[in-house]
Symmetry: C2
Subunit: 187 residues, 2 copies
């Protein structure tokens, strides 16, 4: 069985599909399977650098790329899921379980040029409703970060405003610094 | 003097420019003049129909298309500004003043295919921070409405969920009903 966009199925069926091994990842939202867009170069650079910066500034949390998180009737794959180490289930061999059935503590999405922003925001809000404490949507075309916290208005961060992080991650970063990573790639 | 995108100027200079009479409207955001995209057919249909529905369901509020609202250091032109009648300043001839220097009570934006969603959301959040009670971003490509209220998480409305309105507007409308207006146009 292969997946086609917006195919209607159950979460259980979806999770048993071989297509779940594909890249870019398929997500399950409101009864439909939707494939994430193929990441472009700018997306990959921001993702890779953020992963290492978050990991370098926390001992209790880890930043994971493309971790499938299944909870609240959806199965989503944030570009970066920041999760507390002690929340990652471990199997009898002492290795992480394959399935993560919780929201990340902090979800980060990097908007691709042709990606629908409302759908990305919808997934971030789904995380917040189920316990995530922070969500970021990076918009590389607008050089901005749209930040979400539970029970608050979102906020747009630009230029030299310091970005909000979760407690336990000691990262001081402005929007400008974040997008300057794209320039480093020109060397 | 003609305007070029992202030209840096003061709010005072911006407001004195003849280009302000142009359509699509120019907005002034963070020191830069930015022109709104040319509305497409679906945009126009949704805008026109929403205007008449809101007007038909309120006696205290009026829905105005392309009203320039200048406040808090920005000069923005929501696709629809819903404003309480008695908040509209009237001149000595009993006619509305040309300049509206307040946020609308309810701001409605209809996302165009090539429009940057973060910038649209940024303007909605600017309205909320300065006193607007409700903001909608219609996404015709996603058949969804992203709704914003002060000091709350935004919420995505789809299908048969009833859309939130402000007190004083007695409009019962689901997302599905709203986007079905596009189908009527095929007759």
């Amino acid at each position: 069985m292969t997946l086609s966009p917006l195919q209607v199925l159950t979460l259980e069926n979806f999770l048993s599909l071989p297509a779940l091994e594909e890249s870019p990842a398929w997500e399950f939202i409101d009864g439909a399977a939707i494939q994430k867009p193929m990441p472009k170069t700018r997306h990959s650079i921001l993702q890779k650098r953020l992963l290492s910066e978050i990991d370098a500034h926390s001992k209790d949390y880890t930043a994971l790329p493309e971790l499938r998180c299944t909870f609240g009737g959806r199965s989503i794959v944030p570009d970066i899921a920041v999760v507390e180490w002690n929340r990652i289930p471990v199997n009898s061999a002492g290795e992480p379980e394959d399935n993560f059935m919780q929201p990340p503590d902090w979800t980060i999405e990097i908007l691709s040029p042709d990606q629908n922003a409302t759908r990305v925001i919808d997934n971030i809000l789904h995380c917040l409703r189920h316990g995530s404490r922070l969500g970021w949507m990076l918009d590389p075309d607008d050089y901005s970060v749209l930040s979400f916290m539970p029970q608050q208005e979102p906020d747009v961060y630009r230029v030299d405003r310091q970005l909000p992080v979760i407690e336990g991650v000691d990262l001081n970063l402005t929007t400008q610094q974040l997008f300057s990573w794209l320039k480093i790639a020109r060397r």
